[in-house]
Amino acid sequence: MRTLRRIGLYVALGLAALTFIYPFLWMASSTFKPREEFGSLALIPDHFTLDNYRTMWARAPFGRALLNSTLVATTITLSVLVFGSMTAYAMARLRFRGRPALNAATLGVLLVPGQLTLIPLYTLIVQLGLIDTYPALILPYLFNATAILMMRQFFLQIPQSLIDAARMDGMSELRILFTIFWPLSKPVLSIVAIFTFMGSWNEVLWPLLVVRDEQLMTLPQLLTVFALGGGAGSVGVSLASAMVLVVPVVIAYMFLQRNFIESMAGAGIKG
């Protein structure tokens, strides 16, 4: 009875897991099938082909989009880590006028839904003449309130004696932050890095508003425009273009699974 129930549990789990993994496998295999074979349930194509990838690559600048996405996500992540940790350090460890106000404002920002500020931000970008530029994609994301609060919380737990000793040695506050706090804060920094990078990598609404030039589009944006505009022409080509976005994420996910789960769940709960 007990073993029977155990087997039942694993069968149920296996079926559940299959519904989460199979669609991605089916997507991957469809991209290697010629048009006539599309829609068959088999995962192994009868006639293996790379035509979908060739067509996709030739019809829209996916290489460029990969570059754009990487550039934008990396810049934002670095800024959120470097400038965000400087802010968090100041808010946790330095005394200055306006600190309580800054704390309150940071908490307040978390309560405002993004849709409220979307249009004013868009008109701001238009008025600054930044439509179709990298800064339009990057500027509104340079800081992240959730990240600052998480880092501040972590920095509050680091013993004051470390700071005092470093100050006695004549270290500047920036050096204290980057040579003493950073090495101690690896867990929170990696969490912030992953959720910031993923957030930027997957974002599609903002790019759709501020970028119209194909050469500057991010991957999820170009993918959407390509699929909707009929540029793909066939499902295989459309799914092949989705693979450009998915493959790097899945590879990173396989290696850093635990960090991914921790950081995306953590960010969602606090955000």
Binding site: P113, P120, F143, V249, I261
Partner: protein
Amino acid sequence: MAAPYAVFLLAFAAYPIVFALVLVFLRWDLVTAPSIAGFDNIRLLANDGRFWRAVANTFVFLSIHVPLQIVTALGLALALNRKLVLRGFWRAAFFLPVVISGAVVAILWSNLYATDVGLINKLLVRIGLSPVSWLTDPNTAMPAIAVMVTWKNVGFYVIIYLAGLQYIPRSCQEAIEIEGASAWQRFRFLTLPSLLPQTILVITLSTINGFQLFIEPYVMTGGGPLRRTYSVVLYLYNNAFAYQKMGYAATIGVALALIIGAVVLIQRRVIGRAEAL
């Protein structure tokens, strides 16, 4: 050291919030100078069938998505909360769609849902059922999207429930087992009440998430059929981007923020009252 952040908050948080409220009273196409609209935007919104259609659609979405999300997440979390071989693998499998871009999931699922060649209909036909035109039938389109979004996010909520399950004291579990409670009674009178904070969190987050629905209808249906999958954010986006009505788009944004706030508050009240009974 915090000065750049203070400047950032002023430019990209405080200013947009204030300007959103100003835009409500303006008419602006971004080309000519803005003009005063008075209460026109608000009056238009109050009588705009398309806007309220989108709000109603969101409630249809939520009425399927939220309960389904709770049941699936709780079920998977309970299954994972045992000694299992490959526990990490199962967790990772359920979490996989969470890390994939919503745009990719929408493109993938529009093909899974496709009427003639879609994977789901192929499976239905294989087991002897007739195919369903998931995304082109006005009655099934929104439910189909709700199921897809539940699938995409469930791994995230499983993690929340798994964390909650760690906090149920061993002593309580042992006590209720000694009392001779059945599996169902243990679930109903210990596990479920203990997980109330997590359930509230799941309800709140999935509700907010539902009101922010955009890329799914944008990619899969364009808001159709018969506007039955039109979402509030899609309408906001079209007003700004396609119709160049900044004042009206901002008004929709403000209204959406107020609706989200009101719905979340009401949910908490109702749950709080139910808990007190």
